[in-house]
């Protein structure tokens, strides 16, 4: 077993027992693994392919966690952390891109390829992030559901498992949260 795996497993267990400092050590390890996985994915897949949506986090989990020693709560915690990290990464990336656009280079030549992956998304991640902050104030659980479903690509069932709630609740909350967030973001645009 790779040392990282022991380490992360132990940290997760510690964190689960209430050791807050464990989380600080945990985050960079998970982040690094996600980064490595992502790089591996992009290299493995050919041009124009992006990765399989949920595989990333699952694979990071499998690599990082010694599953014999981990309790399902720890697994849930892991997905929770990964989801937060994914959100942070994405929002940071979107912010950088936004800045770049505002800066705008005036070079006339462009070889720009339209990447469909981005087009599909066609969503203001930064605005979504901000709206999600506001949603968390009203309903913490809903914001978690959005984090897990949208930012980490977990299924309804997986989300339910991580949050220890029923899939029906996840479905219900997800539908309300989507309506709420959509209204918020659309409102932002109209302002």
């Amino acid at each position: 077993m790779p040392p990282a795996s022991q380490n992360v497993t132990a940290l997760l267990i510690d964190w689960g027992k209430g050791d807050k400092a464990a989380l600080d050590q945990l985050v960079p390890l998970v982040y690094e693994e996600l980064r490595r996985q992502a790089a591996r994915y992009l290299r493995r897949e050919r041009v124009g392919h992006t990765l399989q949506t949920t595989a990333l986090i699952h694979e990071a989990y499998l690599r990082l966690i010694d599953q014999r020693n981990v309790h399902w709560q720890n697994r849930a915690q892991f997905f929770g952390i990964a989801a937060q990290l994914m959100r942070r990464i994405l929002v940071d990336y979107a912010r950088t891109k936004k800045r770049a656009k505002r800066g705008g280079s005036d070079v006339r030549v462009s070889f720009t390829d339209i990447k469909i992956g981005e087009k599909v998304q066609d969503l203001d991640v930064v605005a979504l992030d901000e709206a999600l902050e506001r949603l968390a104030e009203i309903d913490e659980q809903q914001s978690k559901i959005v984090e897990l479903r949208f930012f980490s690509g977990l299924t309804v069932e997986e989300t339910a498992e991580v949050l220890a709630i029923s899939p029906a609740t996840v479905k219900r909350d997800w539908s309300v949260a989507k309506a709420w967030l959509h209204r918020e973001i659309r409102g932002d645009k109209q302002e």
Binding site: V107, S175, H182
Partner: protein, 1010 residues
């Protein structure tokens, strides 16, 4: 937004949820009630409901896909001022799908170049890199004005591959199209230049493979350059084996993968097939279409939708998108966008010539350049151009009128043809994203030219497999692929075959478990199958495996929900949910994301919505109705209706089909016009399972009529073809005479099936056979002569057993409806029914004292029990507890043997032996090579010491015997091939066995019209 209390928010959620579950009409009333005058609450909920409706695909695709790029994005960039070999980076000028593009200075030659970083993996494939270099060099030597020159393909000192090329000042065609609407002549001019570049390249043997607006740069002087010749080849997926087009299909795309610039892919590219110049012609056709209409011909919310559209759909005519499109342009685009490469332009030069002559025509007749775009669709109308009234305008006007006339003359033909395809095609859309796979099925309004009863009136039958070992098969909705299960050496495997091709491709390798049923997902991307590790179909589970995606592991899917059908608007799904617990089928509709499920109607088993997991509901064209087959049953078997629900007021409409009753219905498929069904089933009283068509006009026709069984009736989307598994049994009776040891002798030479056998005390052999087309009981001498038919004209008759005094023959027959035990005189006269009831009784055996008949009786479909009835008639009595079938009494009358099972899922069949003297029961577990099915026979060896059964170890059936003493089983026969269907010993110890082969092959049945 102000701070919201948790309590208030919970209230909002509850009311929102409640409102979602109600229909529009009821919502307002519900809100009145639920909000009880709280106008703030009501406003909030209504605003959320509105947002819910507008949200569409909002957040439907997880964001994680793009996370990977941002995670590593930083690693793959160059800084301004950085030096790569002898190139100095001046500026970043764009992001490519494969990496960044920079403006760089060649410090050796002092010129400016464009430098593109390539993905790292390309350097790991030196062979490809070499081929690409060669091709790029060839392209550059063309020195064609429309081909961008590649200067160098190299590797930086730190190992990163890059390519440098001519730096062109200009805008990409993509930017040009976004800037402002294009004029017709401009669009044609650009297409001509691209065609010229391609002509030069193709003549030098180079295929571009990736023609798209991003790869076309328009200089300020109007000249155009095509970039990246051959680059696509460097970066496209590796082919496993270029000779086998099927394997390329599998590496090309995996589920959940998002593919790049799908809109410009040719159908052969989308399918992962090898490509040639035709692919560039297609892509040019797409680019031209987009320039004229403002959008590519094949679009969709996700790349997968796009790919499906490319492969399956016809583009909308340009004339539907833009007014006054010259007919000739329409024709050129259509010819470039032929899905079949044989029908496409064969060389791009031909297309260039057509485009040039079109341009000439337009130049002659045009004085006003029409604007073409989505935003400004209004070509100058003929009247407005006539108002300009110059000489040329009149000429154009005349020409346009002629063109219009020509269009009028031709349009009905063209349209009709198009509708011919469209009206019956199930338009399939698909999204592969997370867990959503959807599709919609279309049934059109009644088409008088194509009445329902015309389906499969005249057919062509072709064999898709010829190995004789197919178990299940299904066809993809587009009719291009057939998936099937084959069994070899006791192991089953899943295969795929291209209908128009030779290759058979293994999707899943051979395994010990057993498959139960097979179906394509509606959009054809997945194969669903039932599978059971143990071979117990009651505990089989449903899995799916992608058609496109080599080695992807099967995924278990919800057993309860059948495949979904998407509404034509794509916002709702319909499916059948079956509950094993409550034994009900429920027709459910839901939003596309599976929220807001609504149960429309339920049927308690044995009434069923459809029959197998593969049947899915169909939406009417206006999405107002959902239809599916409804199966009911009575004592005579199953009968079928078409069930339809109007969603607006939830009214049901049930249209009974033919009164024909069936046994063993298999897959029931609704035709695309929802005006009938096809199914494989055994008609009441018939010996063979045949394919049937039942129409709402009451028609009932057999599509097949032969001496074989058909299992499954999977329709293509257009209902023009179906796939089934045809099983033929060829068996004969063999004799092994006691004492002679030696070789068995074949004593019959029929073509057909010989079933159960029994010896008569007079030395004759009685047997059931349907070699004549109907299952009847016959007798013959051991040398095969003296054949005499004992039953005839009375439906199906099996399992003769003769009483020791040679007076009676008992057998089971369905002549009174369902199978019951019958008795007749030894010569076939005086039939008497010994059992009655609503469930079957079979496999009678006369007791050695000749007084009783022992038989198996199914109290319910799932529980067999053993009974006896006096041979003279009387009240049947149950003689053994528990689940037991196929009774066999020992010659000495002391033992009764049977197949026994404790009725629990997964439990194995054993041989049970009960002592008729003291009632003690013993059971024997047998080797796993025994085909322990309740329909293989058990017999006693002549000495009454052992129970004999069929064991197929080594793939060959032989008869083995398990001694009641409990010692190890012994092999009694040494057959080296074939299957054994039945066997029995005479009192003298002679053995007869019905042996033969079962061939099961996949057949494709095509409707060839009347």
């Amino acid at each position: 937004m102000s701070k919201v209390s948790a309590q208030y928010w919970q209230q909002v959620k509850d009311v929102f949820e409640g409102a979602l579950q109600r229909r529009d009409a009821e919502r307002s009333e519900f809100l009145d009630q639920a909000c009880a005058g709280d106008s703030e609450l009501r406003r909030e909920v209504e605003s959320l409901l509105k947002s819910h409706e507008e949200a569409g695909s909002f957040m439907e695709v997880p964001a994680v896909a793009s996370a990977a790029e941002s995670l590593i994005g930083e690693q793959n960039k160059l800084r301004v001022g950085q030096v790569v070999n002898h190139y100095e980076i001046l500026a970043a000028i764009g992001e490519g799908g494969m990496g960044e593009v920079y403006l760089a200075k060649d410090t050796v030659l002092g010129r400016r170049v464009a430098l593109k970083l390539l993905p790292e993996y390309v350097s790991k494939d030196p062979d490809r890199l070499r081929r690409f270099k060669q091709e790029a060099r060839t392209a550059s030597t063309l020195s064609h004005p429309n081909v961008c020159v590649v200067h160098e393909i190299g590797q930086s000192d730190d190992g990163r591959p890059f390519i440098t090329m001519e730096y062109i000042e200009g805008v990409t065609l993509r930017q040009r199209m976004q800037d402002r609407p294009m004029k017709l002549n401009e669009a044609i001019d650009i297409a001509i230049q691209i065609a010229d570049a391609l002509t030069a390249a193709h003549e030098a043997g180079i295929v571009h493979r990736d023609i798209k607006p991003e790869n076309i740069i328009i200089r300020r002087d109007g000249y155009l350059k095509v970039l990246d010749f051959g680059l696509a080849k460097l970066t496209e997926p590796t082919r496993l084996n270029t000779n086998d087009s099927m394997s390329t299909l599998l590496v090309h795309s995996s589920p959940g993968m998002v593919m790049g610039t799908a809109a410009y892919m040719s159908p052969e590219q989308a399918r992962g097939l090898p490509v040639d110049e035709h692919t560039d012609i297609w892509s040019l056709g797409v680019v031209l279409y987009e320039m004229v209409s403002g959008q590519p011909p094949f679009t969709g919310p996700t790349p997968t939708d796009v790919v499906v559209a490319i492969v399956e759909k016809e583009q909308k005519p340009l004339s539907e998108q833009v007014e006054d499109v010259p007919y000739e342009l329409e024709r050129i685009v259509r010819k470039a966008l032929r899905k079949d490469t044989d029908q496409r332009y064969q060389i791009v030069k031909e297309m260039a010539i057509d485009l040039r002559s079109l341009r000439r025509d337009i130049e002659i007749h045009r004085s006003v350049a029409p604007n073409l775009s989505e935003h400004d669709k209004s070509f100058p109308s003929r009247s407005s151009s006539a108002a300009v009234a110059t000489g040329t305008d009149r000429a154009w006007d005349t020409n346009a009128r002629e063109a219009a006339r020509a269009t009028v003359v031709e349009a009905p033909l063209v349209r009709k043809k198009r509708w011919g395809t469209f009206a019956v095609i199930l338009v399939a859309g698909v999204v592969i994203a997370g867990a959503g796979f959807w599709v919609y099925k279309k049934f059109s309004a009644p088409d008088t030219a194509n009445p329902s009863s015309s389906h499969f009136r005249k057919v062509n039958v072709t064999k898709v497999t010829t190995n004789g070992n197919a178990l299940f098969a299904s066809i993809s909705p587009d009719g291009k692929y057939v998936a099937y299960i084959k069994s070899e050496g006791g192991k089953e495997s899943l295969w795929l075959r291209q209908v128009e091709g030779a290759g058979h491709l293994q999707v899943l390798p051979p395994i010990e478990g057993h498959y139960y049923g097979l179906a394509f997902s509606p959009e054809g991307n997945f194969i669903y199958y039932g599978y059971s590790e143990t071979g117990d179909s009651n505990v089989s589970e449903i899995y799916k495996v992608p058609v496109l995606g080599a080695g992807a592991p099967p995924v278990k899917v919800n057993l309860e929900d059948g495949p979904t059908s998407f509404s034509h608007a794509g916002n709702r799904v319909a499916f059948v949910r079956r509950s094993l617990e409550s034994r009900t089928d429920t027709l459910v509709i839901a939003n596309a994301d599976r929220t807001n499920e609504q149960n429309l109607a339920s049927r308690k088993w044995p009434d069923r919505f459809s029959w197998e997991m593969s049947t899915r509901p169909a939406w009417s064209e206006d999405d107002q109705r959902v239809a599916l087959p409804l199966v009911n049953s009575d004592a005579n078997g199953f009968f079928i209706s078409i069930y339809e629900m109007r969603l607006a007021d939830r009214t049901e409409k049930i249209t009974p089909l033919s009164a024909q009753h069936f046994q063993e219905p298999g897959v029931i498929s609704l035709t695309s016009d929802a005006r009938g069904v096809v199914l494989s089933a055994r008609a009441q009283g018939a010996s063979f399972q045949q394919l049937w068509y039942l129409g709402i006009d009451g028609s009932a026709r057999t599509i097949t009529n032969d001496l074989s069984d058909y299992r499954g009736a999977f329709l293509t989307a257009d209902s023009k073809s179906l796939v089934s598994v045809q099983t033929q049994v060829l068996s004969n009776i063999w004799a092994l005479t006691k004492g002679e040891g030696g070789d068995p002798t074949q004593i019959t030479s029929g073509v057909g099936r010989y079933f159960d056998m029994g010896w008569a005390p007079d030395g004759k052999v009685l047997y059931a056979s349907d070699a004549s087309g109907n299952a009847d009981i016959y007798e013959m001498a051991l040398n095969g002569t003296g054949v005499r038919q004992l039953t005839s004209g009375m439906k199906r008759n099996y399992a003769p057993s003769v009483s020791p005094d040679n007076r009676f023959v008992v057998f089971h027959s369905n002549r009174s409806g369902i199978f019951q035990i019958w008795r007749m005189d030894r010569d076939g006269s005086n039939p008497v029914q010994l059992t009655t009831g609503n469930s079957e009784s079979n496999w009678p055996q006369v007791s050695p004292d000749g007084k009783y008949v022992i038989f198996q009786h199914f109290e319910s479909a799932a529980s067999g029990t053993l009974w006896k009835v006096p041979i003279e008639g009387g009240q049947p009595i149950r003689i053994a507890e528990g689940f037991a079938v196929r009774p066999a009494i020992s010659p000495d009358g002391k033992w009764l043997a049977f197949w026994q099972n404790d009725g629990q899922p997964n439990s194995r069949w054993r041989v049970g032996v009960i002592s008729l003297e003291d009632g003690k029961v013993r059971t024997f577990g047998l080797a796993p090579t025994v085909p322990v099915q309740w329909d293989t026979p058990l017999r006693w060896t002549p000495d009454s010491q052992s129970v004999a059964y069929i064991d197929s170890r080594g793939g060959v059936d032989n008869i083995w015997a398990q001694p009641t003493a409990g010692t190890s089983p012994k092999q009694l026969t040494n057959f080296t091939g074939s299957r054994i269907f039945s066997f029995d010993w005479s009192r003298e110890g002679d053995l007869i066995a019905s042996r033969g082969v079962i061939t099961s092959d996949v057949v494709l049945i095509s409707d060839v019209g009347r």
